[in-house]
């Protein structure tokens, strides 16, 4: 087995036979990614244009923009995140149920863009984990579609085992040891 270049399956993979189910799950998640309507600035207009007739985001099965973050899978952070907006953005992100993904649309959400000033967060990835970065100021709708297809690829290649590790295996250096737990806004599924 080693000679063939196949690594020893981990305990998790022994216990769970995941491949087919996992593929189907990933496929179903990737094929119906519902974004939350969350426009911040200029890029939101291009996001709307991407949903409109000429580009038609709905072709990928993701045209159902949900207004409530509880029902959405994807947050397209379209625009500049200001210091005042950051807690709200984080809150909306926390309200979204797992599994969830984020696209940083535009330079501002990616790295602060042209707004190197006192009131802008220099990239939304400082607050929430971002899966796909789309540069441009604002990016054309085609870029959004391409980024979205990349996100689909990412979802298709994701693995339940990775998720398990991320959730239950502790990180090498936990930065939260010194912090006492606080009330979360909602209980997750347990």
């Amino acid at each position: 087995m080693e000679a063939l270049g196949v690594t020893e399956p981990t305990l998790l993979e022994h216990v769970l036979m995941l491949t087919r189910v996992e593929k189907f799950m990933n496929w179903s998640r990737a094929t119906s990614v519902w974004p939350v309507t969350f426009g911040l600035a200029c890029c939101a207009i291009e996001m709307m244009a991407a949903g409109a007739s000429r580009f038609d985001f709905d072709r990928f099965g993701s045209g159902i923009f949900r207004a409530s973050p509880r029902q959405a899978d994807l947050m397209i952070v379209a625009g500049t995140v200001s210091c005042k907006m950051a807690p709200i953005l984080k809150n909306v992100w926390d309200q979204m149920p797992e599994p969830k993904w984020a696209i940083a649309l535009g330079s501002c959400a990616t790295c602060g863009g042209p707004f190197d000033s006192y009131h802008t967060i220099q990239g939304v990835d400082k607050i929430i984990p971002v899966d796909v970065y789309i540069p441009g100021c604002p990016p054309r709708p085609e870029s959004l579609l391409y980024g979205f297809m990349k996100l689909q690829d990412k979802i298709m290649s994701s693995s339940l085992a990775d998720k398990y590790r991320e959730l239950f295996e502790p990180p090498a250096q936990s930065p939260i040891e010194s912090v006492e737990p606080i009330d979360l806004i909602h209980e997750g599924s347990q």
């Binding site: 005042k84 950051a86 809150n91 000033s117 006192y118 009131h119 991320e166 606080i182």
Partner: protein, 275 residues
């Protein structure tokens, strides 16, 4: 995660305070022109004197004397650009204003077709009321209002400008006051209700408070914000409020703590208050 107030840690947080206070006025402009001419004249005289010395030296050493300097005439400007010079007030509105306000008017002039009237800071409410209610003036709308910080100003730190519009006569007027740090001018909301947010913005951005304002709170930045961003002594990249970085925080607890410290988190989640 914490706020960085140390300029050494963030070198681009350094600021250069301006030395001068650019407040346009005809007198200042005339003085400026005069000073420029005097400087040029002095330069020319120095050139002449230098030439004389050089010539005397050359003659005494037996060399050929240098060419005498030529004073160039001011070149005709090849550009499509004419700097608009502030001129004395000619518009009847300004005369009327001066008549009504009397000694409260400090300066009246026109620049680039704009009417400017600088009044005493205590008289601003009177001036606004007169502009709004006088039959001959009737400036119905406060189009804009803003302030400028002059750390290098002599006798003042801020100028506040009011841009008034008369819709019926299609006229515009700028009122200006100069104030010191700590002075609270009367709020314009009593005359123009639309000044409410404008004054809040000035307070938020520059730290000028207004007396008798109904709701003198910050408007653009959050309530807990430190400093007033549009002051000249405030670095463009802020005092560190934006430098949140929670990328290492996998569980999100730390992020939440930071966010809570920043306030405004309990949106729509606070329990209903019983009566």
């Amino acid at each position: 995660m914490s706020h960085v107030h140390d300029p050494k840690a963030a070198p681009n947080r350094k600021i250069n305070l301006p030395k001068t206070a650019p407040v346009p006025s005809p007198g200042a402009h005339a003085a400026d022109v005069k000073a420029t001419q005097a400087a040029e004249e002095a330069k020319w005289q120095k050139t002449l004197a230098d030439y004389e010395i050089a010539r005397a030296n050359a003659i005494s050493e037996g060399k050929e004397p240098p060419k005498p300097p030529v004073r160039h005439a001011v070149k005709a400007d090849a550009h499509d650009m004419r700097w608009p010079v502030p001129v004395e007030a000619q518009d009847p509105d300004l005369h009327r204003l001066r008549e009504l306000l009397g000694g409260a008017v400090e300066e009246c002039f026109e620049q680039a077709g704009e009417l400017v009237c600088q009044v005493k800071k205590e008289a601003i409410l009177d001036a606004l009321t007169i502009c709004n209610q006088d039959v001959a003036l009737r400036y119905e709308m406060l189009a804009d209002m803003t302030a400028t910080h002059y750390p290098g100003g002599w006798g003042f730190n801020f100028s506040i400008v009011y841009h008034l519009t008369c819709i019926r006569r299609r006229k515009r007027l700028r009122l200006r006051i100069l104030i010191l740090e700590g002075f609270e001018p009367e709020s314009a909301t009593q005359v123009y209700p639309g000044a409410n947010w404008l004054e809040r913005e000035i307070y938020d951005m520059l730290g000028v408070r207004f007396a008798n304002h109904p709701d003198m709170t910050r408007i653009l930045c959050s309530e807990e914000w430190e400093g007033h961003p549009l002051r000249k002594d405030y670095p463009a990249v802020g005092l560190g409020q934006r430098d949140i970085d929670c990328r290492e925080d996998r569980s999100g607890v730390l992020t939440r703590k930071t966010m809570e410290a920043a306030g405004h988190l309990g949106i729509n989640l606070k329990p209903l208050k019983a009566e």
